[in-house]
């Protein structure tokens, strides 16, 4: 038993010999929990996950003997946990509206009974290795929870419970380890959050993560198992975009980590998720969702831990063979928590006060994403999407620039677009994706071989219009040629009819890949038909007045992803809309000209 020597904010100096770095400690009369971050002789420095007000030097402290760990087993889905995996719902019932200090509540419900179905292939006497599937529990209607052997257990299965109901603490099996010791198995096991969970090998990511957002899926795709960042100044719609991804993406499990963000935003997620259905399974979204919440007013050290708690939970579901998406909002707050503790430790600051290890910590965290072959031989993936909140929207600041070096997909949000209420405010010039060629293969196999070319054509058009816009800003639109004016108009059609996608629009909030591609090709078709006419001598002014352009801008919100036939009919009628003008400017051979310009 040790005692407190000094209290400085969340840091507490302890007289605690023989403690191990990373060990959990319980401190003071209130029993506040924290972890040891440095040792010097008999004194240890610990950072506490809770507010230290009221602690006195001289109070007791003890080492708990294990590092910060999470409980992994049935009961996680649909839950909301704080930064050290305490269940907030249960804490609310137990200790009221405010988070009292020193409250210890088990992460997984202890009294709930789960119906366990053992794997039919498991027999007593067979060898058993870590990560293998012992059996299953149907946790929610859409998700079957696979009960895994703890990764480091290896030996001979002595006994496995038959089908039936168990609480998480009941013994469901026993294993004789290599050294002869007997290990008991439960429906859950613990895993230290700062250690990545093992797997057999890394796999290639192959399929894109479909989020239903056109600017993301069509223009800057992310693969299942990939890494993405969403940087943006405040008010650019970062949180909205992440909510949209969490709501609509085609992963089987979504883990949303609210790290140092607003309380009301989490409430929004908590209240809206149960009412929304997963477009891929038709079940309530909450069944596949898990929230880790450390809002900005909760203690800063737990904020640092929350990211690791989230990623460990993600890896656990990956090990069951699922595709998991983890959304971390925001990694900047995590980095600031790191900075705050580093500052109190008196570590030498480098850029903007951040410690020198910021880059390596960020990289190590993002590297826990990936598609892998699990220990059980399945395939699972963790896709990591990190929000970044650069101060003043300056992308050259340390967290954004380090993150940019690590990730492959960069969804840059722009203040200018957001100010004009162009949502999602993803800047098509600053964003990038390193996964386009892999995604192209999927789109070619599943949707249309023309995807890659159409995407490139639309991006070219947007880039060209950006150039032209600069000229317009100097000399006015009248100075442009008809061709250039038509290019500008077509780019604005793409922006308004395709890139803008309102999260609040019930019809258009989610767009299937088919709808995305149909709209993309339709708008490009309008551009090409018009360009043909301009080349024949039609003035852009007349084209711009066509009612078709205003109509096409509304198509996205008139046809849901289930109702593509009507949309396709409108698309098929595009050439007809150009016909009168075509007759006027190319009276010689209208029909052959028509044939030529149809794709």
């Amino acid at each position: 038993m040790g005692k407190i020597l000094e209290i400085n904010g969340p840091l507490v100096k302890l007289d605690l010999p023989q403690t191990v770095l990373g060990e959990q400690v319980r401190v003071g009369r209130l029993g506040l929990v924290g972890e040891v971050i440095s040792r010097d002789g008999n004194t240890a420095l610990a950072q506490l996950y809770e507010d230290t007000a009221g602690l006195c030097p001289g109070e007791e402290a003890e080492g708990l003997g294990w590092p910060l760990s999470v409980e992994l087993g049935p009961g996680l889905l649909g839950g909301i946990f704080d930064g050290v995996q305490r269940p907030l719902q249960a804490m609310w019932e137990q200790s009221g509206d405010r988070i009292a200090r020193g409250v210890a509540v088990a992460s997984l419900p202890r009294d709930r009974r789960w119906y366990f179905v053992p794997d039919p292939g498991r027999r007593a006497g067979m060898p058993l290795a870590g990560g293998e599937v012992l059996g299953t529990v149907q946790e929610t209607e859409s998700i079957q929870h696979r009960i895994l052997v703890p990764p480091r257990v290896q030996g001979e299965l002595l006994e496995l419970a038959p089908e039936g109901e168990h609480t998480v603490e009941e013994v469901i099996g026993r294993v004789r380890l290599a050294d002869g010791r007997i290990e008991k198995l439960h429906l859950f096991h613990r895993w230290p959050v700062r250690t990545p969970r093992p797997f057999r090998q890394r796999d290639h990511a192959v399929a894109p993560l479909i989020t239903g957002q056109r600017i993301l899926d069509t223009f800057y795709p992310l693969l299942k198992g990939g890494k993405a960042a969403i940087p943006g100044p405040f008010g650019a719609g970062k949180t909205m975009l992440q909510h949209q991804v969490a709501r609509w993406c085609n992963a089987q499990i979504v883990i949303y980590v609210g790290c140092g963000e607003r309380g009301n935003e989490l409430t929004d997620v908590l209240e809206s998720m149960p009412t929304l259905t997963d477009p891929h399974t038709g079940r309530p979204l909450m069944e596949r969702t898990l929230l880790v919440a450390n809002t900005s007013n909760m203690p800063v050290v737990a904020r640092e831990a929350s990211i690791y708690v989230g990623i460990t939970l993600a890896e656990y579901f990956r090990d069951q063979g699922y595709d998991v998406v983890m959304v971390a909002d925001s990694t900047s707050r995590w980095a600031e928590a790191l900075r705050e503790v580093a500052g109190r430790l008196g570590q030498m600051p480098v850029e903007e006060g951040y410690p020198a290890y910021l880059g390596s910590r960020l990289a190590a965290f993002y590297e826990r994403a990936g598609r892998v072959e699990t220990l059980a031989g399945d395939h699972g993936s963790v896709t990591l999407i990190g929000a970044v909140s650069p101060p003043g929207g300056d992308f050259s600041e340390p967290v954004t620039s380090h993150t940019k070096e690590i990730i492959q997909t960069f969804w840059a949000l722009s203040k200018e677009l957001a100010d004009a209420r162009h949502y999602p405010a993803v800047d098509w010039l600053e964003s990038f994706s390193g996964y386009v060629s892999s995604a192209a293969k999927w789109w070619a196999d599943n949707i249309d071989p023309g995807w890659e070319a159409a995407r490139a054509a639309a991006l070219d058009l947007l880039a060209a219009s950006e150039e032209l816009q600069r000229i317009v800003n100097l000399v006015g639109v009248e100075a442009l040629s008809s061709e250039q004016r038509w290019t500008l108009e077509a780019a604005s059609l793409i922006k308004e009819g395709l890139l803008q996608q309102a999260a609040t629009d019930e019809v258009d909030s989610f767009a299937s890949p088919e709808k995305q591609f149909a709209l993309l090709t339709a708008l490009l078709d309008i551009y090409r038909q018009g360009m043909k006419l301009v080349k024949l001598g039609a003035p852009a002014r007349r084209l711009i007045q066509m009612p078709l352009l205003a109509q096409a801008r509304r198509w996205k919100s008139q046809h849901s992803s289930d109702d593509l036939e009507a949309l396709k009919a409108k698309i098929a009628a595009i050439p007809a809309a150009f016909e009168p003008l075509l007759l006027e400017y190319a009276p010689a051979a209208p029909s052959s000209a028509m044939e030529e310009i149809r794709p």
Partner: protein, 460 residues
């Protein structure tokens, strides 16, 4: 220990005193200092070890004689006595009455630091508050339980705007009787404080206001307590007495500067512009005390006012505030110079909770689309205005000229309104349609075709 006076001050500097040889002092404990002149100052333990205890003294360490300073550790955090009687009272920055009336007597004393609200206990803010200001109601709607700061600059009428919101704020279709106001000023000038006091008096709400005043010439470190004391009062009124509380805090910049001052004295590693790395967490502790709680009737809606140093929205204080609050109302110098009141620059302004508090069951079905259309059309119009400034208005096309006329009308008629003009949301929306009718219907793609047919004056 509470009753022991220690005379072991080892060093003093700029508001901090180090006490030697006082073992076992609780972190965060309140401290009472008595100097040689018998003056009593109060402070807080910010670091505690057996050999040295660091105390932050709110009234500063001027004229402190180490040998003749007696210190008592009160063994409890800073607390505010609360009761129904705080309504109508004026307190100083650390929560002591300064209106010449007797102190509030109550057995119920609350730790001013509060405790973080469990996110699972929060109820999502959804009820639209009508402020009667078109630029806010129409385009950046405020909801009950929201924290919506006013970003301003020196010389801009943020106080007038805040006072107008306080006077006019009401819920649609409900009596406004249960609204109370908690007003906290830190670093504010005497003139500002008087302005608010008179404004409350004129509108006859003075008995529904609790004021906490730490004015510009009062102790700087005390400013760290002022918002906490005010919010403790607000939480009591909202969640114990079921009031709907509107909290106005001004000026957050003065608060952050006080925080920086103390941080520098403590030797904290500075992050941006000398502000400590924990500025974000510290501001969040204040702002996040706004909100609603499930199964409770009351609510805390917060309107912090902050002046952006050199009108720079990327300065750490507005920047970090924007990351915590649910939007911001930005006041602009350009509009103000043109005589537009309130000079709300709508493009960078935002209300994040607007989407859930407006529309069919709250205000009117066309509201979300109208707001979005106004933003889009005005953004477009500003582009045209920029162009006109370069090539001259004569060179513009007819369509562009109509757009320009729209921008002018939007600023003159929609944003601009009187300090006492209270527009209902219907008036605001109808006015918006009057303006949108200046533009051709086919250019209005954010509103639906049905809405165009119903409201657009040139649609038929």
């Amino acid at each position: 220990m509470k009753n022991i006076e220690f005379r072991t001050a080892a060093s003093a500097q700029g508001g901090l005193v180090v006490m030697a040889g006082v073992p076992g002092v609780a972190a965060g404990s309140r401290v009472q200092l008595r100097d040689h002149a018998g003056r009593v100052r109060s402070g807080l333990v910010i670091r505690s070890a057996n050999d040295a205890v660091l105390v932050e003294v709110f009234e500063g360490t001027d004229a402190l004689d180490l040998e003749r300073t007696w210190v008592r550790f009160l063994e409890e955090p800073y607390k505010l006595p609360v009761s129904r009687d705080i309504l109508g009272r004026v307190f100083n920055g650390s929560g002591r009455p300064c209106d010449g009336r007797p102190p509030v007597i109550s057995a119920d004393r609350r730790d001013i630091n509060g405790e973080p609200l469990n996110p699972a206990a929060r109820a999502y803010p959804r009820e639209f508050i009508q402020t009667g200001i078109s630029a806010i109601d129409g385009m950046n709607s405020l909801t009950r339980g929201q924290k919506l700061p006013i970003f301003s600059g020196g010389g801009l009428p943020h106080n007038q705007v805040a006072a107008q919101i306080v006077r006019q704020a009401k819920l649609l279709g409900e009596e406004s009787a249960e609204f109370v106001i908690v007003f906290a000023a830190f670093g504010a000038s005497h003139a500002d404080a008087r302005f608010f006091q008179e404004s409350f008096e004129e509108s006859g709400v003075l008995n529904k206001v609790v004021m906490f005043l730490n004015l510009a010439d009062e102790p700087v470190i005390e400013r760290l307590l002022t918002p906490r004391a005010a919010l403790t009062a607000a939480e009591y009124l909202a969640f114990d007495l079921d009031y709907h509380v509107l909290v106005v805090m001004t000026d957050m910049t003065a608060y952050a500067e006080a925080l920086r001052e103390v941080a520098v004295l403590r030797g904290d590693v500075p992050a941006r512009k000398g502000y400590p790395g924990y500025l974000y967490s510290d501001l969040a502790e204040l702002y996040e005390r706004a909100g609603r709680i499930k199964n409770r009737r009351g609510s805390i809606t917060m309107i912090p006012v902050l002046s952006m140093p050199s009108d720079d929205i990327t300065h750490p204080i507005p920047d970090l505030t924007g990351y915590i609050t649910e939007g911001q109302i930005v006041l602009g110098r350009e509009l103000s110079n043109q005589g537009v009141y309130p000079p709300v620059t709508v493009l960078p302004s935002l209300s994040r909770l607007m989407k859930d508090g407006i529309g069919k069951n709250f205000t009117r079905e066309d509201h979300p689309h109208v707001a979005s259309q106004l933003f889009a059309s005005y953004a477009k119009a500003l582009e045209v205005r920029g162009l006109a400034a370069i090539i001259g208005a004569e060179e513009l096309s007819d369509a562009d000229r109509r757009t320009l006329a729209f921008a002018d009308a939007f600023e003159r008629r929609f944003i601009n309104q009187g300090e006492d003009e209270d527009r209902s949301i219907h008036e605001t929306l109808n006015l918006a349609w009057d303006l949108l009718s200046m533009l051709p219907p086919e250019s209005l793609i954010r509103v639906s075709e049905e809405e165009l047919a119903k409201y657009h004056k040139g649609a038929a």
